[in-house]
Point group: C2
Chain length 219, copies 2
């Protein structure tokens, strides 16, 4: 009797075709999942290898150590959110619309990329020792802050925003009111006896957050 899945011609072969890049990507994807679910200490290298359908030896071949693998995963995650944010082209919008869009983008990003938050939490638990010397990340972040500052300044010039708003403070506030909601959704659900992730709750919270930020920014 032939195997039923004939439409997968020798799919999942015993000896996979050699493809270093694909293997690296699978490892990175599996590592992101494992690290975000279990933290840096809780993550198991064997689990990552299994999930990536790669041999454990390959992980050490490509990424040297568990710690370094975490560092790479984290850097990619940071670069991703900054890249997507840059692609919003906020500077082409009126300041108020730009900030509303930015608040919504940050919110949506957390929803679509829940791993990001737990990865950042893990990095802070170990005092950011992995990206302490990451000049690329610092440069990208610097540009990011400058873009937000330009929007705030433009808004002030147009008379819709308060003058002298600090982009760092504003950005911390925007990130925090979304970040906290998601990172603490489990304890929050217990304490406040609410489902934090119901569509209604999500919609209500985003509206609340947008309102909070507009009240903070506008004259």
């Amino acid at each position: 009797m032939t195997p039923p899945e004939k439409n997968q011609p020798s799919d999942l072969p015993k000896h996979r075709v050699r493809d270093a890049e694909a293997t690296k990507l699978r490892i990175l994807e599996a590592a992101k999942k494992e690290f975000s679910q279990n933290g840096l200490e809780g993550a198991r290298v064997d689990s990552i290898a299994l999930e990536a359908r790669a041999n454990k030896r390959m992980i050490y071949h490509y990424f040297e150590s568990k710690e370094n693998l975490f560092k790479v995963v984290l850097e990619i995650a940071y670069l991703d959110i900054r890249t997507q944010e840059a692609n919003l082209n906020l500077e082409k919008l009126p300041p108020k619309e730009a900030m509303i869009t930015f608040v919504r983008f940050t919110w949506d990003y957390y929803i679509k990329n829940p791993e990001f938050i737990t990865l950042v939490n893990s990095e802070n638990l170990c005092q950011a020792r992995h990206l302490r010397d990451s000049p690329l990340l610092q440069e990208v972040s610097q540009k990011f802050v400058s873009r937000i500052q330009a929007i705030l300044d433009q808004g002030a010039r147009e008379g819709v925003f308060r003058p002298d708003l600090d982009a760092v403070q504003v950005n911390i506030t925007i990130a925090s009111i979304g970040y906290y909601y998601f990172t603490n959704r489990y304890t929050g659900s217990v304490i406040f006896n609410r489902d934090f992730l119901s569509p209604a709750a999500l919609k209500e919270r985003l509206a609340f957050n947008t309102d909070t930020i507009l009240r903070l920014l506008c004259l």
Copy 2:
């Protein structure tokens, strides 16, 4: 030659006096420190025993397992912040002053109890499985929300606050703008190239947060 510290008569004796309560307390204190520094998975039972100057066997005797020890530590931490908050007697203050005091209290609590934040983060990493069934905590939290709601309602009646403010949303916002600042201070310092914990930065952020909340609450 006699030992110099005569004022400590046989302090740190080889065979410590038997005191179950004191031993439990030392274990809990050491556990809080270890869990908050290394997370649930990263924490080492041997380290806790060493730090507590107790035998590892005692930890399992009094607390059954590492997981249960974490649960007890976490519950105590939650009860502590709620107890201190209740002792503020916010209801005796005018609504606006009450909320300003509450924002400052939350902020100060995070500064004085940095372990609280990392413990909560650890609990959320494992989806709050330890305090999922903690009726005591749920009851305390319920009263806490009611107190804040009473203040918001009173403020609305007096015409200083907007009507129909949701105490849960407001409280999440107040907690978040402080919590995020501290939990992400390490990655934040790298990304924004600032010292998040300098006295000037702390003062500025508290002022910013108080302003943010007043703009959110007031008419």
